[in-house]
């Protein structure tokens, strides 16, 4: 399991815009670099990031080989109701990781 840093409020007022920051440990090997023996290192990147709020997708990003290692993604959403935010990173070599955080909306 890759290490993940998630930063978002635990509670928010209804209708408030909340900022979510995510950071995940991943090499993001571009697939263009030669390795120590001169042969090209196979591509190993995260290709897609999704965030859903109580099952409804609120943010999605497609990642490309030009994105640096340990990608940091920051975005905002509107706090509509109490529930669970789930974050999923998917990528090459069947990489898939999901993290969830609860939020209380008052």
């Amino acid at each position: 399991m890759a290490r993940v840093l998630l930063n978002l409020p635990r509670s928010a007022a209804k209708g408030a815009v909340i900022e979510i920051r995510t950071l995940i440990m991943h090499p993001m090997e571009s697939g263009f670099r030669p390795g120590m023996n001169g042969s090209i290192l196979p591509r190993d990147i995260i290709t897609r990031f999704r965030c859903s709020y109580n099952g409804e997708e609120v943010f999605r990003a497609e990642l490309s080989p030009a994105i640096a290692a340990n990608p940091f993604i920051s975005f905002t959403t509107v706090a509509t109701e109490s529930g669970t935010l789930s974050f999923t990173w998917e990528g090459d070599n069947d990489f898939r990781q999901t993290e969830t955080r609860d939020i209380a909306v008052t």
Binding site: R3, V4, L5, L6, N7, R21, L23, I24, M25, P27, M28, A68, A69, N70, F72
Partner: protein
């Protein structure tokens, strides 16, 4: 007039952390624990610190509670080996002798993670190199290495990081080269790395032969650099371009 000049002279003598010369964006990245990628290693280190390892079946946390201020004092004198030892070296030693666990090689991810976990507990504290007289000869050798020209480019550390600090090398600003943020996350590496890796980086840059990790030369340079940056706050894990 004379006191003003004296004051200016004193201001110039204060070491200047590389952080002050970074872009505002990078400074913000370093200061924000949710954006600083070094915190990923820090999290890893925290988990390793709690894990029981080796024949002794002990975790670091079984003996050590708070290690605040420790990173600010290293490298220190190690009476057991009668040599200076840096923080990563001490962690290796503790692991071998007290945990009786498989050694962690220099620059390996778990050693970097443990080192940054310990170093971060000293964040904000001033670098306070020990005044132990047994360290003095090694520190003096470190200073000599710092001023010694090396490599095909025939440059010493001091020629860039003292004489030309604040000027530019190509587009990059030459920092004073203080060692107050290690292990640090370097954007160029896209990873966390130790001071020894950074020293190696500069040696390769001037096309000199870089000693292997853990060599006495690095320890001596680390000792001198700690003295040279004394008083600067520990910033580990720092972010640098």
């Amino acid at each position: 007039m004379r006191w003003l000049l004296l004051l200016l002279g004193m201001a110039a003598a204060q070491p200047r952390s590389g952080t002050q010369d970074m872009s505002r964006e990078l400074q913000a990245m370093q200061a924000d624990d949710s954006a600083n990628p070094g915190m990923l290693w820090m999290q890893e280190g925290e988990a390793l610190f709690q894990r029981r390892e080796g024949l002794a079946g002990k975790a670091c946390a079984d003996c050590h509670a708070s290690l605040a201020g420790v990173a600010a004092r290293y490298p220190a004198w190690d009476p057991a080996t009668a040599a200076p030892i840096d923080l990563a070296g001490r962690i290796q030693q503790c692991r071998a002798e007290r945990q009786q666990a498989a050694p962690l090689p220099r620059e390996s991810e778990p050693l970097l993670a443990l080192t940054v976990f310990v170093a971060r507990q000293s964040r904000g504290m001033a670098l306070a190199p020990p005044a132990d007289p047994r360290l003095a000869p090694a520190r003096a050798r470190g200073e000599a290495l710092f001023r010694q020209r090396r490599g095909q480019l025939n440059l010493s550390c001091a020629q860039c990081h003292e004489e030309r600090a604040g000027l530019r090398l190509g587009s990059a600003l030459i920092p004073e080269g203080h060692a107050n943020g290690y292990p640090q996350y370097r954007l160029e590496w896209q990873a966390l790395g130790s001071l020894q890796r950074r020293l190696r980086n500069c040696m390769v840059g001037v096309r000199a032969t870089a000693p292997a990790y853990g060599a006495a030369e690095y320890l001596e340079l680390e000792l001198f650099l700690a003295q040279r940056g004394a008083g600067l706050p520990v910033e580990a894990p720092a972010v640098r371009p």
